[in-house]
Subunit: 331 residues, 3 copies
């Protein structure tokens, strides 16, 4: 019972006008499966009842597009437990029930911590899982240490303010496609303890990133990858989320969009505003036959944009190198 | 691959104010699982691609209530195939992920037919399933013949018009609690071939029945049983559904509500209006500790209401007798 | 921080079968932005935490249609504050992100009052905003006095009962297209203090008006204007709304529909039933190229219908005269 499967038919409101299911919908389903499996596992012990809260999603790639009418199957399994956290590995298969075709849409790894329902600030202990082999446990520990290190490093980063774009920005500049939306957190967005599901936040982030990408290239755009996402702080019911996106980098065939989530409370202004999440989304542009098209190059204005472009370029080259290594590793 | 499981966390909008998940939500999930498993099975052959359309749900009982925050697991399996129809047996388990408790919430049997995507009037042939034993197949055939006979009998029945209640009806009369809603069929309600999912219709029917029951007894009410439902005709996108409910019978501790679904087209007036579905829902009334309360007796006005009351009373006694027989059979 | 912008992509379930976004969706978004900006502003002071409740929307016109796939941008700004109320001016732009085209879809003015979260009957004081000029403040005060006067006048009006139509009404009569729906208020419909969002009510009203209009002329219909709407009383979670619509007037190219919202409580019968809102919606009929079509004339039966028709005719001529004056004023 350390695994969980959920599936449903993809509906028109899960997809864009052309019928491609939004990456954010897939991320939201993965997170629901992860939350179920971790909450269930952590409540198999004595002590306070608790709910699992998402703290991190590892970098993930969208391997094949999913379409309206297909059935998305999400399976999630707990693959490592530390004293206070759980790793879940999830896989999404898309099934075309008319042709029987099955394809892997996504693989992701998520980290959760169990929060007490009595006192949401209290992190509970996690009952250990059993490993098939000592090697398997050791690999899990390595992943645990690596993500812990990275989380500590990025917590202080990416808190810079978002500057409003100039009023009549030139096409293909950062300011031209920069977008933001606000979302008032409602009861459906929340877990049992009235904190926002990580999946809800990721869906909103993907939505904004998609608008930025579509404004830049005026075509059908789809998510192909998401950078590791750290959830620095939990978000309460009654909050207002401001989700902002801006282009940081374009290659010939891809766009990188930085998405920032700022939180303020409608009713408790003394809480102030804080940065809850930030991440990079990568989108590509498709023609009407779903073939990858080239992307208009981003016009850079000023040093700040140049710096972010160079950093994006670095991530792009690193990922490209990693893909080559992975493929060679598989041969 | 003749079975399918789906699950999700029950959310606030799946439930009433007190936290009980609506019976209609459970019926809708069951129907989605049935549609997936039948559509998948019927497309494993050559010929037109097709989508499974619900034609009948056998009488079903809600065995335990489901609450917000619980995970509902629906499993559906094809248990019989005739030349042009499939029987699906479905089971719903409700899991409390905080305590680990699991309970059976519902068991249901549904009948589907495969409709061609090219020509929705064309019913396709169904690839036969394999049976574990000749006995199992024989039992399936018996269920098939029984439901076929019953469907033929009820197709012409229950087409009587619904009379508007008097303007100031007395409390606890049929007119006092009679209710109806209209629903414009949208894209989210539809299958790939733009016909309304049977589950959507059942959810609306349960919603109206619940309002009728609550108006009658002014308490927390929940669905405990649904009569066999026959879907006489399919319903297209762009239709307007008028779903009406009226009390037909009350026992000491239950209410029977007749629900009628009338369909007209906004854009094709030549279609006229027709009765697409009708069924009886049974509700009970609960106090704040979820204990069954007594129901105010229905005040009958006129011969028509008396006739319907007597018929309801007949169904009530028959079900009661059947439950006794079933329990004895299990001992 | 006296302004707020929100945007989102229009989805299939926001629109009718032909792809036109429902006027009710636009009204709901405007109201959400207004609620956020007012709630935020009123909580910048000491004292009870509070939530802004909508009390009035000024007459508004839908200037251009919005379609699925477009991004609707709503901006809302507080433009006047009295001791206990706030005026918000909102503007909706529709952006086609594929072509970059932007058009004004709607402009509206809304009035809110802040209700204490501790005691929802208590209206809080509103912190004053700063005005650019004394003139601006003076104009705001004029608008405030005008709406106050009008609200007082209409509070007692429009409480007449809705008579059920005859059982076989003739086409193009009032009875033929008269429609009503019931809606059980759920958690999603509510603000933080469990009162129904004004935007939810307006969306339901637009839905009923649209069904009435479509039944009358059997074509694609869209909202072009809404009369000033006064929210006489707040609506609680657990209420049942009966939303009824009937044609009052047709010109060559438009239909006026009166929509009434009656509220009763499922759980507190002693509350009785009351009329919470009423308004007039104006619809036009479009052909498949989105060109305005002529409307079948309304067949009037009886004195009451004639009186309402004449009143509707008066509003129609007044609005027409006002449009001419406005256009001349702009030259």
């Amino acid at each position: 019972l350390t695994s969980c499967g959920l599936c449903r038919i993809m509906r028109p409101d899960d997809a864009n006008v052309v019928g491609n299911v939004h990456g954010g919908i897939i991320l939201k389903m993965i997170e629901e499966a992860g939350c179920i499996v971790c909450t269930r596992h952590c409540n198999t012990q004595h002590g306070d009842r608790c709910v699992a809260a998402l703290v991190r999603v590892e970098k993930t790639e969208f391997l094949s597009p999913v379409f309206i009418g297909e059935v998305a199957h999400v399976s999630a399994e707990i693959t490592y437990t530390s004293e206070h956290s759980l790793e879940v590995q999830a896989k999404v298969m898309a099934e075309n029930i008319l042709t029987g075709a099955m394809k892997v849409a996504n693989k992701a790894a998520l980290w959760y911590v169990p929060c007490s329902l009595q006192n949401v600030e209290k992190i509970m202990e996690v009952p250990p899982i059993k490993y098939v082999s000592a090697e398997q446990e050791e690999e899990g520990r390595r992943r645990y240490e690596a993500q812990k290190k990275e989380r500590l490093e990025t917590t202080k980063a990416r808190t810079e303010e978002l500057v409003a774009p100039p009023s009549n920005p030139e096409q293909h500049t950062v300011g031209f496609s920069q977008s933001s939306l606000i979302h008032l957190v409602g009861p459906l967005d929340c877990t049992l303890h009235n904190y926002v599901h990580g999946g809800v936040t990721m869906k909103l982030m993907d939505e904004v990133a998609g608008i930025v990408a579509a404004r830049h290239c005026r075509t059908n755009v789809v998510t192909v990858a998401v950078d590791a996402i750290n959830f620095h702080r939990t978000i309460k019911k009654g909050s207002v989320l401001t989700v902002s996106g801006r282009l940081t980098f374009t290659s010939n065939r891809s766009m990188e969009i930085e998405v920032l989530v700022d939180v303020s409370s409608l009713v408790e202004p003394e809480m102030g505003q804080y940065r809850a999440v930030s991440a990079f989304f990568v989108f590509i542009s498709l023609d009407k036959y779903n073939r990858v098209m080239s992307v208009p190059p981003l016009k850079i204005k000023g040093e700040e944009e140049q710096r972010r472009f160079d950093e994006g370029s670095g991530r792009y080259l690193q990922n490209k190198a990693k893909r080559v290594t992975d493929q060679e590793g598989q041969q």
